[in-house]
């Protein structure tokens, strides 16, 4: 064999060795890629998933360092644009550990950036003494996509958990609401009066409330109110107000016939008891309190509540608030509205769930429609039929749209016999 032939054969061997090494490396990368995908499926914990992917990446690519940076965009006025979080891993032969060390600047570096959610941005940087080849960058791109995917999965999982907690809170609020309120319907033991109450909670629990009490001298006390806001805080405050009201009603009855409080005094007593709780919660409570004595003498005190109407004989009288809602100004004194409840009259208290219900086009039921509907509704002799008339109109207006807010209706009138 000539020297030239030997050289040629040696060259062929070198090419074959080089090709073989490339094939082995390529195969190693493929196997590495398969191994990379395994840990991401096992955990929904963000830190654990990222650590596992980083360890595999360091092992496959023989990295000295790996850095993942998340830069938050200005998603809210409270989050400065410079907000960012960084995680470092230091390569140790076949594994990697989280570290705060940084490379000394002699390593080759590969970096890439991709959007995360909204304005946030994710970047990955890999470091090692040897330069990164085309195949390495493909693997690093896969590593980066896996890390981003793990973050998205973990956060979606967290969001789902938070939603479940909110749903649980809503259920708790709904149960508190239901437990605190007296059973609705046509109220029993109401003497010569026909009283019907209903409270339909919306999906996102609001803070509608109502209460009533009949004392031994046939005086009937009643109240309808609405805590501003929704959810658990509103439901908890609602129960506080309901308990204060019922205590005040009972105390008034215990004082003996003719010596009880008037509705403005009772309202002030309730305000004194609940003001701090309402104020500290940053909410307020609209509340109308009334009393109907054995001779059908009506007395009402209104703190910011609407709509409150006396309807009878083709006429409507709006019973206006004389002080702001409870929780706004401490120590307000309401002016008592007084009238005789005639046989054809109906006193109808509601909450804004009636007037502010929207239809699919977004149009409100409205104060005017509500008021004119009352004039038709009072043609029914029974309080329960008046309620049903109004509820049917509200359902027809909503036309399938979800209930916007709690809806409460309280109807009080003379009992019609026969």
């Amino acid at each position: 064999m000539s020297a030239n032939e030997t050289a040629a054969q040696s060259g062929d061997t070198s090419v074959v060795a080089s090709l073989t090494e490339a094939l082995v490396n390529s195969n190693d990368r493929l196997l590495g890629l398969i191994r990379l995908t395994e840990p991401a499926n096992d955990t929904l914990d963000e830190t654990t998933a990222l650590d596992e992917i980083a360890i595999r990446a360091v092992k496959i690519l023989d990295l000295s360092y790996l850095r993942l940076t998340e830069a938050a965009g200005q998603t809210t006025p409270r989050a400065p644009a410079s907000d960012h979080q960084q995680r470092w891993w230091r390569g140790e032969r076949t594994t990697a550990k989280p570290t705060t060390e940084q490379p000394d600047g002699t390593d080759a570096e590969w970096s890439a950036v991709q959007p995360l959610n909204g304005n946030a941005e994710l970047s990955l940087s890999a470091f090692r003494p040897e330069p990164f080849e085309t195949g390495d960058t493909k693997v690093l791109t896969a590593v980066f996509n896996l890390m981003a995917g793990a973050i998205r999965s973990a956060r979606l999982h967290q969001a789902a958990l938070r939603q479940a907690v909110v749903a649980q809170e809503h259920n708790a609020a709904a149960q508190i609401t239901t437990a605190a309120l007296q059973p609705g319907g046509t109220l029993p033991f109401s003497g010569a009066l026909d009283i019907h109450a209903l409270c339909e909670p919306a999906r996102t629990t609001g803070g509608d409330l109502w209460a009533w009490h009949r004392t031994d001298d046939d005086t009937v006390w009643f109240a309808v109110g609405d805590v501003s806001g929704k959810g658990l805080p509103a439901a908890v405050l609602m129960t506080t107000v309901v308990h204060a009201l019922r205590n005040a009603f009972v105390q008034s009855g215990l004082a003996g016939p003719g010596s009880g409080l008037d509705p403005a005094e009772l309202l002030s007593n309730v305000d004194r008891e609940v003001f701090q709780a309402i104020s500290q919660a940053g909410l307020f409570v609209t509340l109308v309190v009334g009393r109907c004595d054995a001779n059908h003498g009506l007395a009402i005190a209104n703190a910011g509540h609407s709509p409150v109407y006396l309807v009878g004989d083709g006429e409507l009288e709006l019973i206006e608030a004389t002080v702001p809602p409870l929780g706004v100004i401490e120590g307000s004194s309401a002016i008592v509205w007084e009238r005789q409840l005639d046989a054809q009259d109906a006193l109808i208290l509601a909450t804004d769930g009636f007037t502010e219900q929207r239809n699919p086009a977004g149009e409100l039921f409205g104060e005017d429609t509500y008021a004119s509907a009352l004039l038709d509704a009072v043609s029914h002799p029974a309080a329960s039929d008046i309620s049903e008339h109004m509820v049917n109109l509200l359902i027809a207006h909503a036309d399938g749209r979800e209930q916007d807010d709690d809806s409460t209706l309280f109807v009080l009138k003379h009992k019609v016999i026969g």
């Binding site: 940053g282 307020f284 910011g304 609407s306 608030a321 809602p325």
Partner: protein, 103 residues
């Protein structure tokens, strides 16, 4: 709802113009903007309600919170030019007696 903050005026430290529905869904954005305003003792904030087409009790509660906070710090919250639907709500709830309202 659109919220625009304008430059300080002589009598108020911050002025906000609200446009659209001001309801429970908009309250967190409003609260965030109010919280982000630089605050000093005795400052007054003005909120223009002339282009608010609807206001609910959650939004009213938010305004009450701001009003109380400002007054406790020696300042005030001024509500400017409430639109007719908003004015009706303030009258019905008697909250017009609690706020400083300018036409």
């Amino acid at each position: 709802m659109q919220i625009t903050t304008t430059h300080p005026q002589p009598e108020v430290a911050h002025s906000l113009d609200l446009v659209g529905r001001f309801d429970a869904f908009e309250v967190p954005s409003f609260d965030d903007i109010i919280a982000s305003l630089p605050s000093e003792t005795g400052q007054t904030i003005a909120v223009d309600l002339s282009q608010v087409e609807f206001i609910d009790s959650a939004a009213l509660a938010s305004l009450v919170r701001v009003m109380k906070r400002q007054r406790e710090a020696g300042g005030d919250l001024i509500l400017r030019k409430p639109s007719d639907p908003v004015r009706v709500i303030f009258e019905l709830t008697k909250l017009n007696a609690a706020f400083t309202i300018e036409d």
